[in-house]
């Protein structure tokens, strides 16, 4: 079974890639530029967009809306009797499984 880990490229390549990326990012960060007075942006041409700050609530908002994931969230009401109802429902499902499978 240990043979599945013998594809050494599987280990070495991502490791090398991550290490190289780390070094490049670190080296670029260390490099001190000399901006002209009053110049704060690297590139001055091109279309200008206002700087936006993505708050924690807006992370993956389109995915959440498209997949309608909030429906599942609404099932987690925090009300104890709802939880107990789920336990009983779960027990019935387990019982049915056991009766069908054995």
């Amino acid at each position: 079974m240990l043979g599945i880990f013998n594809y050494w490229l599987l280990w070495v390549l991502p490791l090398l890639a991550f290490t190289a990326m780390g070094f490049i990012i670190y080296a670029l960060g260390e490099k001190k530029g000399k901006p002209a007075p009053g110049k704060y942006e690297t590139y001055t041409c091109g279309e200008k967009f206002p700087v936006t700050d993505v708050g924690h609530e807006n992370f993956y908002r389109p995915i959440k809306r498209i997949l309608e994931l909030s429906r599942l969230r609404h099932a987690h009401t925090g009300i104890l009797s709802d939880y107990l109802l789920m336990i009983v429902t779960g027990f019935v499902i387990v019982l049915l499984f056991v009766m069908v499978l054995i």
């Binding site: 925090g78 939880y83 336990i87 387990v94 499984f97």
Partner: protein
């Protein structure tokens, strides 16, 4: 020797309440871990007959390699949590450590006993001490979480007791090895089996029995959150495995696969939508339990090995994440919402990152090794299930990216954490190192896991050892 381990813990628990010394339970938990490592190095099944009464008449503790693995995991994580808590818990420390030690006794007893009623008793010890630990901070969240956990836990233990009573009524014995040789797959047997699976499933927090877990974890101290997500679920999974394999109920694999996939997906989707870091970690741990159940349900040697290895890696990574976040929350004045939790500390950022990458299953960390085995095993049995598990891994990456970005990369309102006590950092660094070592050298982890898989799949050896007296 197994009996002495529990004896040391019991004495330390009660003595610490009287003399008010934290060092007693901490020392006892660490000593019990070292004893277990020493015992696990030997071969065969370690038996301990209470009062010299032989099985099936007396209570027997039978520790095979699977029990040993779980027991070492319990005491190992509990030792790290005990050391870490020295600086985390500021008030009523002797009570906290007594409860932690009692919780360890419960989990240790569950993993080592060969008697199903004895298992129930230790399950209760573990549950009752954990209710008190969840409510330890005595704020609104803690009390409500503990109450919900208490009610759900009482449901679980009532179902277990009823199931055990029905089993005893039909088979006339409580010894698990003896039960396995007497059980006939009759309709009378189906109801107790469903009761036992539901009872253990509640403790595992598999969907749809998972509701209590995020609520309980939200109010609990972070080190106890580490125990909950890391080892308490492992105990539930161990119990389900014991019941299924010792009674040779391989037909129920489909049940594990279905519950595993649903748990994996629901846990990931819920974690994806969280704003509270503790709830996010709780749902993440539920999702990871789904992987373990799925892998064990696949029933192949590779699947079971991957499942047990994932159980080990999941425990280490979850403990690492909770202990790291515990420091973050402690130094941020108790803030838990991602919107206002922003800190700067390179060591914590590195360790949290390692834990998150390991849980996601990124090479070369420990989680990758076990998840890779699960993907391969799932692909052999059913490619669509393998595809679902990979998609869930992508979701895992998404929500950990959000958590990491909000906590460590957000420059607004950032709190700089300086001077973290070494006693809190050491357990975190040990766990992070384990994530890296077990990932680069998966053979080391499999050295512990493979004997456990063999013990699990060869239940006749366990039965013969217990009933033959070793």
């Amino acid at each position: 020797m197994i009996g002495y381990i529990i004896l040391i813990l019991i004495v330390a628990t009660f003595l610490s309440l009287i003399v008010r010394r934290d060092i007693l339970p901490i020392g006892a938990i660490i000593i019990s871990f070292l004893f277990l490592v020493f015992l696990a190095a030997g071969s065969g099944i370690v038996l301990f007959e209470f009062g010299g009464w032989e099985a099936p008449f007396g209570i027997v503790w039978a520790a095979d390699k699977l029990s040993m693995m779980i027991a070492m995991l319990v005491t190992g994580i509990a030792s790290l949590v005990a050391v870490y808590s020295l600086r985390y818990i500021k008030e009523r420390r002797h009570r906290y450590y007594s409860l932690l030690s009692l919780m360890t006794i419960g989990m240790l007893g569950v993993s080592l006993t060969g008697d199903i009623f004895n298992l129930y008793v230790f399950f209760e010890i573990f549950s009752i001490s954990s209710y008190a630990l969840v409510a330890f901070f005595l704020d609104d969240y803690a009390i409500e979480g503990a109450f919900k956990y208490l009610v759900a836990g009482s449901f679980a233990t009532t179902m277990l007791l009823l199931g055990i009573a029905l089993l005893y009524g039909s088979a006339g014995t409580l010894n698990m090895a003896d039960l396995s040789s007497q059980i006939l797959q009759t309709p009378m047997f189906l109801v107790p089996l469903a009761l036992l699976i539901t009872g253990f499933g509640l403790k595992v927090a598999m969907v749809p029995f998972h509701f209590w877990k995020p609520d309980a974890i939200e109010g609990t101290p972070s080190p106890i959150g580490a125990i909950f997500t890391a080892v308490s679920t492992s105990i539930g999974i161990y119990c389900i495995l014991r019941v299924l394999f010792i009674f040779s109920l391989i037909e129920l694999n489909t049940l594990l696969i279905v519950f595993g996939v649903v748990t994996m997906v629901v846990g990931a989707v819920m974690a994806f939508m969280q704003d509270n870091i503790k709830r996010l970690l709780a749902y993440s741990s539920i999702s990871q339990i789904g992987y373990i159940l799925l892998a064990l349900g696949l029933g192949t040697y590779l699947g079971i090995s991957g499942g047990l290895y994932q159980l080990l890696n999941n425990a280490i990574a979850n403990a690492l994440l909770f202990l790291s976040i515990g420091v973050v929350i402690l130094y941020s004045g108790g803030r838990e919402r991602l919107s206002n939790l922003s800190v700067k500390n390179n060591i914590l950022m590195f360790c949290f990152g390692i834990g998150a990458l390991s849980i996601i299953g990124i090479p070369p960390l420990a989680g990758f090794a076990s998840k890779y085995m699960i993907y391969l095993a799932a692909w052999e049995v059913s490619p669509p299930i393998a595809a679902i598990s990979i998609i869930v891994a992508a979701f895992t990456l998404a929500y950990y990216l959000k958590a990491f970005s909000c906590v460590f990369l957000n420059p607004r309102g950032r709190t700089e954490i300086k001077g973290i006590p070494l006693i809190m950092l050491i357990p975190i660094i040990i766990l992070a190192a384990l994530c890296i070592i077990l990932g680069i050298l998966p053979h080391l982890g499999l050295y512990v896991v493979e004997p456990a898989v063999q013990a699990l799949t060869n239940s006749s050896g366990y039965v013969a050892a217990v009933l033959g007296g070793g």
